[in-house]
């Protein structure tokens, strides 16, 4: 029989409360490479698995700055350098008139950065993932809550981890083939 590598050990819970409690216990027990799955954003769950800060705001800030700067510089270059046209005696570099487009470009680039930055940091699109190998995981987008300990965790052991997860009172436990 071919040996299948194991991706991790997954426990299924009934409620958001149980998942957050279980995630706290697992993290406190010294398991560091863990993740939790829920059908809606659960307050405090990311913190419970030890994930406190994400880089989306930084990406959005950089995107917004690039958008705003390029918007303004584009208008300056077009109106004052490349194609200066005298409109009603206004100066070529008539900065008040450039504010609207600068603003819109800031929002556009920041918004695009927010969406695509979030997807990129999340590693999406990723149509296939080992957690989908667990048939019950289909309920993670409905009404069930899952906790996984990755097999890459130094504390991971097939029997120990299963025993530990069982002590948390899950509905079911399954080994996730990768």
């Amino acid at each position: 029989m071919k040996h299948t590598p194991i991706y991790g050990m997954m426990a299924e819970f009934d409620s958001a409360q149980n998942l957050v409690d279980a995630a706290h216990h697992t993290h406190e027990a010294g398991y560091l490479k863990i993740d939790a799955y829920s059908p809606f954003p659960v307050e405090g769950l990311a913190e419970a698995i030890g994930f406190h800060k994400n880089n989306v705001p930084l990406v959005v800030l950089i995107g917004g700055l690039i958008g705003g700067l390029s918007g303004y510089l584009m208008q300056y270059w077009i109106s004052a350098v490349s194609y200066p046209v005298n409109v009603g005696g206004k100066p070529y570099h008539s900065w008040p008139a450039f504010i609207v487009v600068t603003f819109e470009m800031t929002i556009l680039f920041a918004g695009i950065s927010a969406v695509f930055g979030m997807l990129a940091l999340n590693g999406l699109p990723m149509p296939h993932h080992p957690v989908f190998n667990v048939p019950r995981f289909a309920l993670a987008t409905k009404d069930r809550f899952f906790l996984i300990v990755f097999s890459t965790d130094p504390k991971y052991s097939s029997s120990e981890t299963r025993r530990f997860l069982e002590s948390l009172g899950p509905r079911s436990i399954s080994e996730v083939p990768s």
Binding site: A16, Q17, G64, V101, I107, L124, T141
Partner: protein, 457 residues
């Protein structure tokens, strides 16, 4: 013991979601509309009519491309006519969707969760309908891309001191951000449909669109940050869009356009008409799909209150316009006011006052605010009124300007009407498709409204 929190009721009045639902039943109820419920004959009939109207629009536009804008009623002095009236009307309608999804999110108004999805879809389709008009109005629509700055062999660039160029950026940014906001909100629900669907093709399509969303806590954390930031970005954006649209008028020196009240009064009018459209869509949808438990009396009441408030701002705008006509001492401004009340378009102006100011005052009555049929009718009246407002602004201001020798009248042709009514068909056809193939209520945000979503540390 700490006090039991009741996130579903949030103060007095009807709840935002009727009690007795669980994560599972909320999911099933919303996703079954898309996945298992058979498509009704009413849907086919409604979609069929909307589709025919869309075809009529395409025919009118096709004929326009063959013959030119001469088939429309636009002439000098009224060079803007229906195209701009309808553009402003449609883009204004879109604003309610962004207000509901972004501004009410920032204000933590959780009642938005059951109406934001289809309001965002409404925004998207309204902006698409709006976008058609300036493009076909430019005369040579195949050259419409000249509006964008792109390196070209002619060596020319757009003129960035013109509000019309600002408008190109404002509207295209608005359309892009609205699409992104709508799509990012859909991702977790698309994953739900992927996992619930039993049809292989549907699984593939929803699966591809969901991009492998698995609801990881890390993903949700970044997702919520991105969603919140996007809401923060969309909030000033939506206020800026109609402001920039109003600059198209306010920067000109035409009496009736050249006024500083325009930006706030345009934005208020946009939200006014947008909520009217939200109600005109929500009331039949909740009835036909049995969603009264999710789109409750509370949503109708709150939308009615927003309409009442923005309607009063609009009324203030009209009042200031009239006051300034007298107070400025400018004879052209004074004449504009006289002409609105006594000129050839006076009945239209009086109808506008009736539709936008007088009729909506009945919304002070609580009984009417909670009566879906009455709200539907009042919303329709407001939509007509807001269309008349743009008609008055565009046509009446232009038709009699400084020189009596250049006065004229505007008579829309059948092609104007066919295009306008056709865009309504296109909008409705898109809405029909949307409610059939995508979850019209955000499932994951509805789950967060349930008491069992509450987690104690």
């Amino acid at each position: 013991m700490e006090e039991q929190r009741q996130p579903v009721t949030l103060g007095q009045g009807a709840p935002v979601i009727e009690p007795g639902y669980t994560f599972g039943t909320v999911t099933d109820k919303i996703s079954s509309i898309v996945l298992t419920r058979p498509t009704s004959n009413g849907w086919f009939l409604g979609f069929g009519i909307a589709f025919l109207l869309t075809m009529m629009m395409l025919f009118a536009i096709g004929y326009l491309f063959a013959r030119g804008v001469g088939i429309w009623g636009v002439t000098i002095p009224i060079g803007w006519g229906f195209a701009i009236v309808n553009f402003v009307w449609w883009i204004g309608i879109g604003h309610a969707g962004t207000l509901i999804s972004a501004i009410l999110l920032l204000l933590r108004q959780s009642w938005r969760n059951s109406i934001n999805r289809f309001a965002e879809a409404m925004t998207l389709f309204a902006v698409s309908a709006a976008g058609i008009f300036p493009l076909i109005h430019v005369g040579r629509p195949w050259l419409a891309y000249w509006l964008f700055p792109y390196p070209n062999t002619m060596g020319v660039w757009p003129q960035f001191r013109s509000p019309l160029v600002w408008d190109v950026f404002a509207v295209s940014t608005y359309a892009t951000i609205s699409l992104l906001f709508w799509f990012i909100g859909l991702i977790p629900d698309l994953a739900t449909l992927r996992d619930r669907s039993t049809n292989r093709v549907a699984q593939m399509i929803y699966g591809m669109l969901a991009m492998g969303w698995r609801g990881s806590a890390r993903h949700w954390h970044r997702y919520e940050t991105a969603y919140l930031l996007l809401a923060g970005l969309a909030t000033p954006l939506v206020l800026s869009v109609h402001t920039v649209v109003s600059f198209d008028f306010a920067v000109a020196i035409v009496p009736g356009w050249h006024t500083t009240i325009f930006p706030p009064y345009f934005v208020a009018g946009a939200i006014y008409s947008g909520f009217a459209m939200v109600l005109m869509l929500a009331i039949p949808i909740r009835k036909f799909y049995g969603l009264e438990d999710f789109i409750t009396e509370r949503h109708l009441q709150n939308s009615a209150k927003v309409m009442l408030a923005t309607g009063l701002i609009v009324a203030y705008g009209y009042g200031i316009e009239a006051f300034m006509g007298w107070y400025s001492g400018n004879r052209y401004d004074g004449f504009l006011l006289w002409n609105r009340l006594h000129g050839p378009y006076a009945p239209w102006y009086l109808a506008l006052l009736a539709c936008n100011i007088f009729v909506p005052q009945v919304l002070w009555i609580r009984k009417l605010r909670t009566n879906p049929a009455a709200l539907f009718v009042i919303s329709g009246v407001i939509l007509v009124g807001m269309w008349l407002e743009r008609f008055i602004i565009v046509v009446v201001s232009l038709h009699r300007d400084f020189l009596t020798s250049s006065w004229g009248m505007y008579y829309p042709t059948r092609w104007d009407w066919m295009t306008y009514i056709g865009t309504m068909g296109m909008f409705l056809a898109a809405m029909f498709l949307f409610v059939r193939i995508l979850p019209m209520i955000s499932i994951f945000e509805m789950r967060t409204l349930l008491p069992e979503a509450e987690v104690k540390e």
